[in-house]
């Protein structure tokens, strides 16, 4: 076999192999945008291989007719190679003004069609004679005498556009700082196109006697491109390894935190999850888990909430946090905390929602238990408060009973008179009714305070709540000789709170104030209650002129802190926990005129029912 045949066949085979590899890469990951560069390369390599085969045959053409026929076919791989260069530059280098390249392809297509239709030898109007020229010690056939066709102008213009497109791409890459690729790939392509065009023009116009050896110029470029693409593949493999490693680390961390990881492509429905995530969701391990499958395990009460978040995740990127219940296959209910994020996936049009899921049943249970304990403790404190107030409370019930009894006996005596005074009797009955209602209100309040139950929030007018508490304690205050002054300026401003709990706070603060004033014989004992509105905050202060703070202002809120011999030391601690549960603050400070001021800050309720 001649050297020339060996070389040409070797180059063609090399191109075929390289093209085959990248065609395979493209086929495997057709949907990914990045593999379009592999496709463009494969087309270019196959075209070059084809060119090599045809060139070899052209070297051995026996007649002008055979040469013309081969030349006709030769121009197809040239066309596809041309298009592939534009596509590769666009997809792989992401450079060059696409309209330049596309116009070049269009012009080349017109030239191809025109050349084929004119029945001539493509760029030649007529081939007059073929001759042989020595190439690597071997005589090869080439055109020695011919007249150029007008089609040549078209194909040369297309080449010029391609050169412009590549020059533009090189400039862009250079500017982007991607100088190595600018020089090697697009610069190389430009050089090839320039040299090839110059040689083609020279030989066509007879300045140079060269056979068709396009493959020689193409192959180095193909190799450079293959090297870059190969490096990318290698880097991809390395990245994959890194990714796997990082995934392993992530899984390890997730397992250590007892968290499950999962991701779901909302478009393709592809699901991936760690074994822990499958266990938490309590769904069988399989790949085709749909959004509906996941929703199905969620507690019906929470499903709507989760669905809304998923719906939003399909549309826009973002991070979401959710806590919801899962009903497992055994019928048990578990609380999970989920943190998810949504983003556009690597494949065009895909939508990935991925997340971390944790079983927080234990935490929830602890929270519930804490809440229950708080309720119990508040109840205990209320009972204790009522015990302290028992004397007053007995009086509060006794008083109406006394009123009822004396009125009734007065009425009986009036009725025994010969001409009873009906107006007086009516007044007596009205007083009896009023006393009865008063006793009923006291009993009702007692029952509410003794009830052990969950917090029930409602809209409360602060000033009215304060007045109600003062009314409840009026007997106690009178008995202890305390003079009450009020300066209630909150008006109709409301808070969103639990009536019983807030009563408890008020009763506690008023009681403490009375105790502080009883401890020393201050005279007169003045209790001042003030409310005020400051922006969106309602302020309530309870001032006394008693003994004042004996310890630090914060210390008094500590549990089991008490100055009273029979005190539990829970009153203020619980008052504070109630106020905090109402998003408020409680603080104590010395009253400038002697005594203590306890102050509450509570957020004002702006919209009803929120």
């Amino acid at each position: 076999m001649r050297l020339i045949e060996v070389l040409w066949i070797a180059m063609s085979v090399a191109c075929l192999v390289l093209g085959g590899i990248h065609a395979h890469v493209w086929l495997r990951r057709r949907e990914a945008i990045v593999t379009r560069a592999n496709l463009a390369f494969a087309v270019l390599a196959f075209s070059v291989a084809m060119m090599g085969v045809l060139e070899l045959q052209l070297f051995r053409a026996a007649s002008i007719d055979e040469f013309k026929r081969l030349l006709f076919w030769y121009h197809f791989p040239v066309w596809s190679g041309f298009a592939a260069v534009v596509a590769f530059t666009h997809f792989y280098l992401d450079a060059g003004r696409l309209w330049l390249g596309l116009t070049g392809i269009g012009l080349r297509t017109v030239a191809l069609i025109a050349g084929a239709l004119t029945g001539g030898a493509m760029n030649y109007q007529r081939i007059e004679a073929l001759g042989t020229v020595d190439l690597l010690g071997d005589p090869v056939v080439m055109v020695v005498e011919a007249s150029p066709s007008p089609v040549l102008i078209l194909s040369q213009s297309a080449l010029l556009l391609l050169a412009l497109f590549l020059a533009d791409a090189t400039r862009q890459l250079w500017r982007r700082g991607d100088r190595v690729r600018a020089l090697t790939i697009s610069g190389g392509l430009l050089l090839y196109v320039g040299v090839n065009s110059a040689l083609a023009i020279a030989s066509y116009w007879g300045f140079l006697r060269l056979p068709l050896i396009g493959i020689v110029f193409f192959v180095p470029m193909v190799f450079v491109m293959a090297a870059y693409l190969g490096l990318d593949l290698l880097r991809g493999a390395e990245l994959k390894q890194d990714l796997q490693e990082s995934e392993r680390r992530l899984s390890l961390a997730a397992d250590a935190a007892d968290a499950g990881l999962w991701s779901l492509d909302a478009v393709t429905g592809r699901f991936w999850a760690t074994p822990r995530a499958y266990a938490i969701f309590d769904i069988p391990v399989r790949r085709d888990v749909s959004v509906d499958d996941l929703l199905a395990v969620i507690h019906p009460h929470d499903r709507h909430r989760v669905e809304r978040v998923l719906q939003a995740a399909r549309k826009e990127d973002g991070v979401s946090r959710l806590e919801y219940r899962i009903r497992d296959r055994s019928g048990g209910i578990r609380w999970v905390s989920s943190r998810g994020s949504a983003y556009t996936g690597r494949e065009a049009g895909s939508r990935v929602i991925s997340g971390v899921i944790m079983d927080i049943s234990a935490r929830k249970q602890a929270e519930d238990e804490r809440a229950l304990q708080r309720v119990e403790l508040e109840h205990l404190a209320r009972v204790n408060t009522l015990a302290e107030l028992s004397g007053t409370l007995a009086h509060e019930i006794n008083q109406p009973l006394a009123i009822i009894m004396s009125n009734t006996e007065a009425a009986q005596r009036l009725l025994d008179q010969p001409d009873p005074d009906h107006d007086e009797l009516r007044a007596i009955l009205a007083d009896i009714l009023a006393a009865d209602e008063r006793a009923d209100a006291v009993v009702r309040r007692l029952r509410a305070m003794l009830r052990r139950g969950p917090v029930e929030r409602e809209s409360l007018v602060l000033d009215a709540t304060v007045l109600a508490a003062l009314d409840f304690l009026s007997g106690e205050l009178r008995r202890r000789g305390v003079e009450v002054r009020t300066d209630l300026q909150a008006g109709e401003a409301r808070i969103w709170g639990d009536c019983v709990s807030l009563d408890q706070v008020l009763i506690n603060l008023i009681n403490n104030a009375c105790d502080a004033m009883a401890a020393q014989s201050v005279s007169p004992k003045i209790l001042t209650l003030r409310t005020a509105r400051e922006g969106r905050t309602l302020r309530l202060s309870v001032c006394d002129n008693g003994v004042g703070l004996q310890v630090g202002a914060d210390e008094i809120f500590a549990p089991f802190f008490t100055t009273k011999p029979a005190g539990l030391g829970l009153g203020l601690a619980i008052s504070r926990s109630i106020v905090l549960a109402h998003d408020g603050l409680i603080s104590a400070r010395a009253n400038p005129g002697g005594g203590t001021i306890l102050e509450l800050e509570l957020p004002m309720q702006t919209v009803r029912g929120t």
Partner: protein
């Protein structure tokens, strides 16, 4: 015949109820919302029974009783209380209260106590009328007698004979309707008559 009741209670509803009850029983009732108000309008002579709440703002019942004692005549006091403790009741009774009743009070109990108080008022009024009939000399002798002095000592003090003192003394007893010295001492206390020159040695 006095049938006046002074009712002192800070709670208007209860005050009104008891006032009605007492009126229906035929008493004349004068109500006061506080002890201070009552003391400010206190008549010179005890002419009725006081029915008073124990726990009141300002001046409480027991302190009011002390002030009443300081007044020239002794007022009969019936205490009403919501939650009476033993200490207050002992103090009140020692100070001469007629009764110590807990609310809610039965009408019969209240009326009986008020009756008792009014009887005392009447006794004092009667005693006072009798005392008015004594001559200055007889009053002088009475003051010496309740001081615990013997007739002989009194005679020496007043510069007269023992016999004369004996006559005066029996006149005093007769006019006041009293048989024993002990009763005379009590009557003197009720009348607000103090012994002459302090107690006898």
């Amino acid at each position: 015949m006095s049938n006046k009741v002074y009712l002192v209670d800070d709670e208007p509803d209860l005050r009104r109820a008891i006032e009605r009850l007492l009126r229906a029983e035929g008493f004349k009732v004068e109500s006061h919302g506080s002890a201070l108000e009552f003391l400010a309008r206190l008549p010179a002579e005890a002419d009725g029974c006081v029915v008073m709440d124990l726990a009141m703002p300002g001046l409480d019942g027991l302190d009011a009783q002390d002030r009443l004692l300081a007044a020239s005549t002794r007022w009969p006091v019936v205490f009403l209380t919501g939650h009476g403790d033993i200490r207050s009741s002992v103090r009140a009774m020692k100070a001469g209260a007629v009764d110590f009743l807990t609310k809610p009070v039965k009408a019969e109990e209240l009326i009986a106590s008020v009756g008792l108080g009014l009887a005392r008022v009447r006794e004092v009024a009667d005693l006072r009328a009798r005392y008015a009939q004594l001559t200055p000399r007889e009053r002088e002798v009475m003051e010496h007698v309740i001081a615990g002095r013997l007739n002989k000592v009194i005679a020496a003090e007043l510069g007269t004979t023992e016999q004369t003192i004996k006559v005066h003394r029996s006149r005093v007893m007769e006019k006041l309707g009293i048989r024993s010295v002990a009763a005379l001492v009590t009557a003197a206390q009720r009348l607000g008559v103090s012994p002459a020159g302090g107690e006898a040695d």
